[in-house]
Symmetry: D2
Subunit: 383 residues, 4 copies
């Protein structure tokens, strides 16, 4: 392909949305991608205003995703978008992704991938048949120190893994802000838009994905406890899980949306027979590694001693902190690389979450919901 | 009583023991207590040597606790010990305590209090009948910032408590050191000496006690997962629990003896409707308090703004760190105050763990063992 | 002006450069600016290659800054750049800025502004006469928590300021990498390209600017100690200063390029009669504020309780960390706002470092150099 | 000598005193020493009450130090004190120490050793002639991780030392509490009782001693800036120093008593050609060590990997924090060992600060005072 920026369109992400703006910042960062189209909101006026603020050609700001898929596909190849970013509430992920894949577009999609496991498997089929790139924004795996953590595990520095403690406490839903029209809260607590889970679906699934990315461990069964602390909520705002992994490791995974004072405190500790590691999303440039019987090492992004993969996903020298946007942008960079390779007809794999991660994530949510409802240890399904 | 130091004797705590030496440091610290007698080991030579190193009168270094109880009771009141400190492996706590209580001595006893709940309740009866002071060394509640945490809860600063996360990871049993004659490891992993649990009995019970001390919450039921990671162990070296408290709060409590790189990382976070707190034993002079919607406060021991109870248990000005021994000594100070009051015939209560805490702790252990064996949520017994 | 992105060109920032890439990331982030031209290197091939990698029209990749100023000025207004970003070694800042200002372009320029105070004052005149926007990238003042710190001081939360401790230790020049062709090191240690100072010029001036931005204090006199630890260096690689501020406050400012293990550890503590604050660039989302006699507050970016100015320069919710690029982009955003206002003929002031800050910075460097040479307390000049 | 505790008496340390109580806690801790006599205050009633609270024989509570020296010397050897602890304000250190040394007693003395360098040298003579043990309580060198730091330097892990940054900020004198009768503040700010310096004398000298203990570097010259921020003070409450060490290393040492929110924040960073270290007194169980080009190591007290000397001065296992009292007690333990060796006629050296450290400390104070008065770099005197 010619030496050019990739073009993308966005579905969702109008005014008052949160994650759409994040996707745009991440997509902007490296100067590899340009936004040229959008269906930003089911509210047409919101969509138009958003398009204006983003300096878009009004002709490419659409009233619906269906129209967008249709009309973009009708544009000449040198104009139309290369891929779509889907940043809507959960219930739209599957239909929007399907519509664009079927029109031949690559897809970047937010998580959780779908409302149900059945829907997830169906989307997996669509992706496979399409031959297109599908990248899921489990963005926390984009952090260089998370990749370094995976390298430590992969290269045996931790030995056999015995225990994983993953946490994702937040506190932003301690008040019933969904009753006050807070848009982010409203759809996340509405089963029709969010699915069968709020807390696990929104954030627990990130913790699960992070643990799997770093350790490679597969869950065998789990025991979940869900609570809706704030009266009137149909979905849980707090969830605690005990986990048994295949091969004998054990896990604790807890997440919360009502933990006062917690911001976005995703963190993970992995304990093995030869070493341990710890990483905190709110201080992402550091990774703690403790070899057995030795002082802890504070591994810091940007140093010469880190692995090649951690170096590859780093833009700034040590001590010049990188953060959330850069990690998110790393997912985009890999998606872009995958799309460029796909266009060029090359078969390569890239380091971004895929439709298979999406299926795993939805299976995790469903298993937690099932266990919490029964109060029993519950097997993770075959996928 | 006359203005004098209290006299005590020690059962256990010979050479190579750990906790006996800690008790002596704690008892020494404030110059309120003097060690005058001991039955330090079932090995008579060890006991004699220990007595010499402690500058004791050889006549008061005994071959057995039974002999010590007998002979100390026979001494004139102005010579004999006021109380005994029991620092043996678990299985001896009950018989030793019973022997000394029956001879009219006050008791300071290490935890867990007994091997079984039945035994614990029996000891509770002995204590009640004796009218003597019984202080259990759940030492972590001796920290001033733990007392400050309790004050925050008591005075409503956290509102209604929703969630408690208590952790106690250690890594010292990652290698099978009990096979290499490491004394501390050997008895803790021997069901005959330690009881039905290693990890929960030794440290999980501290986390439970800490949570109860700070929050006042009672456990309603729990779901436990025990693992013996190191082959050949009869007792668990790792345990994870989900907890339902009376009144609707939820808890996660996990503890481990095989978590590589962890030292003695007891910590607790409590989340309420109005605020949250966090405390880490390895940095005990600080308490984090986050009022809802406000910046976190770092409350530090020794400042004018802390509560009277935190001030009472503080020796040094701010910035001059206190630590483990001082907290342990606070338990001793309260036991001493209780004994002085008891001798003076005064009815007062003091801020040290009691035989009731001991019963609760053993009930917690038994409930965890039962739940882990069945894989089911299990009710906490009536006590 | 029409609703459009601003267009800019870059001087410097070719392959192997560091700060040019940072400027581009920062300029990209918010989708407000597009790069359309460049004279990236005195090496024409490097410049061309850089232009290709940045997807530029080859016709607008120039062989020299002079040609670029000339030819861009000749383009129609709807095509030509709005401003130039100058990211060259220090000695080129003044001539390049002057060339573009004289052609009617706005300027974003890296620091230190010029090699000498005389040159700085001359540039100040050029800027004043031009009526154009001149923004200096003292990027650390772009951090929201630095702005919050300034608000604390401005609103009297610290009372009268007594003492300021500012540090900027780095360790990247501990080895003599300038002898191994490391480009960043080579020019920074070359008096012809860097000026009369390496360490103070490159980083000490950031610490000075940060302190002045937060406190508003002006230096009255200072006593400096320079060292060239690594043999053969003509400029200092370590510098320590005692400072007397106007009004009686005192300061310590030390910076280093040979402090092993230090990365980019700019930090500042300000102590007043009513409170104190502390901020560390490597953990930029937090600001510590200690009101007298009260617990420290940990103020965190993104919370509802922060000042409006800190909110204005924030993109992500709390707990989703922002970092170096976002702070840098905040300087660009303000420069863009200033340029848009200038184009619209509005007289407004914006929160970006100006040519006056550049003059102050160069005066600081010269005063340090003078004091270090004499070993005496030296007056800060009138500007 | 017989297997017995050492007996000591105390001069100073009555009610409302601070450091006397600290000395007693430290002396109590290890059960090696017993307090049997005292002249606790120039106020006889205070002295008597203090003696009662400490369970002393009233016959050995004296009205003056002179009487105490006289009468203790007259007691039979098996009763009289082995050594005296001097915990008075500074001006009494020399006369009291001299009195007891001349009566044949060993001495433990608080710092700074004397009011003047002349007096310090005179005391050195008295000590040398007496043949007795003289231990100065520069207590911060008693911390195991400080000893570990010294080992890192001694064994070459840091290479050649280039730079030392030592800080000792406090904030307790931000208000003029000496006017409100606060005893600790009053004498420290009174030149007759404290000497020619408040801030450097009380705490700067600790920072200097700590730096010298760890690095072995001798000061060649220094440039000091003293400030009395609070009106009416005759001595400085804030001091900042630039230092040139023999051999070319450079230093920054700043200390303060008016830094709002600072508690007792003594800390030190040492940068060498091969590595760096950092230690903070408020988190004393950790030592950060950064080998060049490698991740920082967090060395923690109590681990198997620490040096023998750090192990020797450790009582508790890792993760069971030790703190200020234990470090202080380590000075006492070494003094006790030295006294036992002295009594036994053995020539050995022990790891406690000596009269030579006292002379160095007073020389440091005098040099700072001189430099601050002149505003010039000032040579460190020959001692």
């Amino acid at each position: 392909m010619a030496n050019r920026k990739l073009r993308y369109g966005m579905v969702g992400g109008g005014q008052n949305a949160f994650i759409g703006a994040v996707h745009r910042l991440a997509a902007n960062l490296d100067g590899q991608i340009e936004l040229v189209a959008g269906a930003f909101s089911s509210d047409a006026k919101n969509s138009v205003t958003t398009g204006e603020q983003l300096f878009l050609n009004p002709a490419r700001v659409y009233a619906s995703y269906a129209e967008m898929a249709e009309r973009e596909a009708a544009l000449p190849p040198e104009e139309r978008i290369d891929f779509v970013s889907i940043v809507t509430p959960n219930f739209l992920h599957a239909p929007v992704a399907t519509a664009f894949l079927k029109k031949g577009f690559h897809v970047v999609c937010d998580k959780p991938m779908t409302l149900t496991l059945k829907e997830a498997k169906a989307l997996r089929e669509v992706v496979r048949k399409s031959g297109k790139v599908f990248a899921l924004t489990h963005n926390y795996t984009g952090y260089p120190m998370v990749k370094e953590a995976r390298e430590l595990v992969r290269t045996g520095k931790l030995g056999k893994i015995l225990k994983v403690v993953a946490e994702y406490p937040q506190g932003w839903l301690l008040d019933k802000i969904e009753s006050e029209g807070q848009k982010q809260a409203s759809w996340r607590l509405d089963p029709k838009k969010a699915g069968s889970s709020s807390c696990v679906g929104d954030i627990g699934t990130h913790a699960e994905n992070l643990g799997r990315y770093i350790t490679g461990l597969q869950i065998e069964e789990l025991c979940a406890e869900f609570t809706s602390f704030i009266p009137g909520r149909k979905l849980e705002d707090d969830a605690n899980m005990l986990i048994r992994y295949q091969g004998g490791a054990k896990g604790v995974l807890h997440c919360s949306q009502i933990s006062c004072g917690e911001e976005n405190n995703l963190n993970i500790r992995v304990y093995g027979t030869l070493g341990a590691l710890a990483w905190h999303q709110e201080h992402p440039n550091e990774l703690k590694f403790i070899p057995k019987g030795e002082p802890a090492r504070i591994i810091r992004r940007g140093n010469g001693y880190v692995s090649d993969v951690a170096k590859k996903f780093t833009r700034l020298p040590f001590g010049h902190p990188e953060a959330f946007i850069e990690a998110f942008a790393n997912i985009y960079l890999e998606a872009v690389a995958a799309i460029r390779a796909n266009i060029a007809g090359k078969k390569e794999t890239f380091d971004h979450p895929t439709v298979d991660d999406g299926v795993e994530g939805v299976a995790f949510i469903e298993t937690c919901v099932k266990s919490a409802a029964s109060g029993k240890w519950t097997k993770f399904p075959k996928l």
